[in-house]
């Protein structure tokens, strides 16, 4: 048996509303809110980046796992906003947690899928018996170009999971992957903002990969949508995952716990992992959870977990995701947002 022994998330304190961004660019805010299923998004403080978010989420995971950080044998940080182009984020996270020096670490990048990539590797490394515990983090301070549709959704947040083989809060039942080379979204080396294929990001990209991974997963695990109590899909906006759920035969009670995007935005590598963290915060014991990520480029990782009674014991040991999302926030105007995200040219 392998699975999740501890989990945690971190959401920055600041938020900006769709209206505030729309006002600057003369965009139709009600139309965007409806079209994207999005009201506001999180904004990282000027002293937060992928590494700091990852550390905060991991510390929360460590609280719930209640293990000695030295027992963590592997640390994987998935992000598209690693603070260095060359120099690992994983070493920063490992050092801050106190997991060094006997630890394997790697930084991962696969657009919005890098978080679940780490989870996939961590789970299977524990399964192989190579390490006792492995930590996987999805963390991003994602950038959308000013004025681009992505600016409404590109948000910041992180979720971390410690995988192990005993005292499981959620047991892994199975995994499944679906991958092709599909150029729907990218950012070249040295480019500051990502570019995307517009409506090409929909049907041939998100829908094809995520839908295929989901049906493949259910088929492989011999499950039907109604067997699943909670489902989490990648959330680039509030609309795609809801459409996916409906088309794939899931109903609102199944996806509502994990749907954070309308008030969080798209935290890229953190997106579906944070949805899983929010689900674990409130799920009942002995229920099935289906998690399906999506990363541009493109591919999906699918996981089926079964919650345990242990989950109910550990989840109050660290800040819950919804609480951070709903209760701990301060709205900022576009000027402050531009300052925080260093979009203002200052003297050197």
């Amino acid at each position: 048996m392998i699975g999740i022994v501890g989990y945690g998330s971190h959401i920055p304190r600041y938020r900006i509303r769709v209206e505030e961004i729309a006002k600057v660019w003369g965009a139709d805010a009600p139309a965007y809110k409806k079209g994207l299923g999005l009201n506001e998004k999180s904004v990282p403080a000027p002293d937060e980046d992928c590494a700091t978010l990852a550390v905060s989420a991991s510390r929360n995971a460590l609280r719930r796992a209640n293990i000695d950080p030295k027992q963590i044998g592997a640390v994987y940080v998935g992000s598209e906003s690693h603070p260095y182009a060359v120099k690992p984020t994983g070493t920063i996270v490992s050092e801050a947690l106190g997991a060094c020096p006997f630890v394997h670490t790697a930084d991962l990048e696969f657009a919005c899928k890098a978080g679940t990539e780490g989870m996939f590797i961590a789970l299977h490394l524990v399964k192989s018996g190579v390490v006792q515990y492995a930590l996987a983090v999805g963390a991003d301070t994602s950038q959308g170009a000013p004025g681009d549709a992505l600016e409404f959704s590109a948000a910041a947040g992180a979720a971390a999971f410690i995988m192990g083989s005993k005292n499981l809060a959620a047991e892994l039942l199975d995994t499944h992957c679906y991958m092709t080379d599909t150029p729907d979204f990218w950012r070249r080396e040295h480019a500051y903002y990502p570019e995307h294929g517009g409506r090409f990001t929909g049907k041939p990209a998100y829908e094809k990969h995520l839908y295929s991974a989901t049906s493949g997963m259910l088929e492989k695990a011999k499950l039907k949508p109604e067997d699943i109590s909670y489902v989490i899909f990648h959330q680039p906006n509030g609309k795609f995952p809801v459409n996916a759920a409906q088309k794939l035969g899931f109903k609102e009670p199944q996806y509502k716990l994990g749907l954070l995007c309308p008030t969080l935005g798209n935290t890229y590598s953190g997106s579906s992992p944070m949805g899983l963290a929010a689900t674990l915060d409130a799920a009942e014991a002995d229920r099935l959870i289906l998690l399906v990520s999506y990363g541009s480029g493109a591919g999906s990782d699918a996981f089926v977990f079964r919650t345990t009674k242990k989950l109910l014991e550990i989840r109050d040991m660290a800040p819950k995701t919804r609480k951070q999302l709903d209760e701990h926030k301060q709205y900022i105007e576009y000027g402050t947002y531009a300052k925080f995200r260093r979009k203002i040219l200052r003297a050197e």
Binding site: R13, A45, D49, A51, S56, E95, A96
Partner: protein, 134 residues
Amino acid sequence: MAMHVARNWRETPERYRMEAAKCKKCSAIHFPARLICPECQGREFATVRLSGKGELATFTIIRVAPTGFGDLTPYAVGIVKMDEGIHVMAQIVDCNPEELKIGDRVVSQFRRINQEGKTGMILYGYKFVPDLGL
């Protein structure tokens, strides 16, 4: 700002994990670590990690910032009385500085402190945020 790779790197235990030294003779805790205890002259110490929790003993709001901190103004810097009894100075963030009060409960978080220009090292360390009991 000049490059100080080794200088900052060697502070990692203190800055990343708030590691302090506890005197084996008189149990006084020192942050950062010392080679000799100023309380009892003891020279043997155990490494302990501070809980990161404490309360604000005094604070100010920096409006004229030194080099490298200009993006953050106005920002609060305070002295925090840690639950272990010792005091630590750091920024207080994720708050409205105007609303801070002496005695406020705070908790440490891992944040970026500064960076060595646009291409140099990013310097991380502890700051404090209001303890909202989340």
